[in-house]
């Protein structure tokens, strides 16, 4: 009798459990997205992360293209240099691809056009001007339109000009050059007055 009750009890329990799941399945149908919510959640995470990565890469590229707004020299209006045969110059390290340089500096004087290089966000082509054996100017010939074209050439990139402390010279000289000696207005006025006084 007890065993039968136990078995009967088990049957009843299992039946009840089954009943419950059937009950749910019929009375409350599960929405599609609830069923795959784990997959959906993971997908959202991945998309968000990808967008973040892409955005960060864009920021990095914008920062490395240009810095300060001042343009030191684009067109050399007064300068007339005869360029040697244009050599292909890589952007990163402009190096002469020609005969050995003069003893004055590392580079031969002239204006050199670089190759067109893919800078990932567009093309870049630069032109380097060498004078007295050192690089004195770098100009953009091609640049992506969405990047600033001005490039700041600071003292490290330009030739370091010689400096010296002032020293007083004791030599006798024929003439002296300096800023105007005395008030020009006074001189002018005096000269005019004196010229009137002359007969």
């Amino acid at each position: 009798m007890k065993r039968m009750v136990a078995i009967m009890n088990q049957g009843v329990i299992s039946f009840r459990i089954t009943n419950v799941s059937v009950f749910f399945a019929v009375e409350h149908p599960v929405p599609f997205f609830m069923r795959i919510k784990k997959i959906l959640f993971s997908f959202v995470i991945i998309v968000t992360f990808s967008l973040y990565v892409v955005y960060q890469r864009k920021e990095d590229n914008r920062q490395s293209a240009g810095v300060a707004p001042s343009v030191t020299n684009t067109d050399s209006v007064f300068q007339e240099q005869q360029p040697s045969a244009p050599a292909s110059v890589p952007i990163q390290t402009p190096a002469p691809i020609q005969k050995p340089a003069q003893s004055l500096g590392m580079y031969r004087d002239g204006t050199y056009t670089g190759s067109v290089a893919d800078a990932y966000y567009g093309n870049i082509q630069v032109q380097a001007t060498i004078s007295a054996g050192t690089i004195i100017d770098v100009t953009f010939l091609q640049h992506p339109n969405d990047r600033r074209t001005s490039i700041f050439i600071n003292d490290q990139a330009m030739p370091i000009l010689s400096r010296e402390a002032l020293t007083v010279q004791s030599a006798q000289v024929d003439s002296v050059s300096g800023a105007t000696d005395s008030s020009q207005a006074f001189q002018q006025s005096l000269a005019y007055a004196l010229s009137q006084a002359r007969n």
């Binding site: 030191t72 020299n73 050399s76 209006v77 007064f78 300068q79 007339e80 240099q81 004078s131 007295a132 050192t134 004195i136 100017d137 330009m158 030739p159 000009l161 010689s162 400096r163 010296e164 402390a165 002032l166 020293t167 007083v168 010279q169 030599a171 006798q172 000289v173 024929d174 003439s175 002296v176 050059s177 300096g178 800023a179 105007t180 000696d181 005395s182 008030s183 020009q184 207005a185 001189q187 002018q188 006025s189 005096l190 000269a191 005019y192 004196l194």
Partner: protein, 249 residues
Amino acid sequence: MKETRTCMGMPITVEIVDDGQNTKQALDAAFLYFHSVDEMFSTYKPESEITKINRREIQEEEYSQEVKTVFALAKKTKEQTRGYFDIMLERGICDPSGLVKGWALSNAAKIIEERGHKNFYVEASGDIQTAGVNAQGTSWTVGIKNPFNVHEIVKVLFVSDCGIATSGTYTQGQHIYNPHDRFCPIVDIVSLTVVGPNAYEADRFATAAFAMGTEGIHFIERLEGCEGYMIDAGGIATMTSGFGRYTLL
């Protein structure tokens, strides 16, 4: 033969090495020319052409050839120096003195040269044009004034056929300003000397380069045919890479 006379509101010196030809005549011709320039361009003379132009009493068609030339040169210089050289003052008044001095010196030098003299120099208040050699037969020696003590010189230049001009603020105070920012005084540099092919080139570029402050010496460096020596407020001089050719014996 050497003479100094006051003209154009400043002491002007002409020295011509005696060579048997009539140096006195050439000297007088040079001073006569300076006087005529003064009559035209002095902003302090009420009857000068420039004063009349500034008072709008003369129309552009009536400008003399010399005035037209100076205005054209000033326009060209303004373009070449990206506006750092500008004869127009903010009040609408035109003051071409920064160009006239060097230009007049170069023309006076031509006058002397045309009379057959090869060794001379002309100097107007610190701007100089030299030709040939001095009476000792060596290059003309030109000292650069010490901005911190105007009775001393800090550099000796050996020049032959050159123009030398020095711009600075240590005597007259702030009279050169940056045309791109007129309220900002030039304080970081006190003197900038330019050695060029003639006084006209040296003068106009010295004026423009000084207005650029510490960038000025780099502007001179990029100029073909000009060398520079800049003295900053701390007493350190910066020179262009080719400047050494004027200082070596």
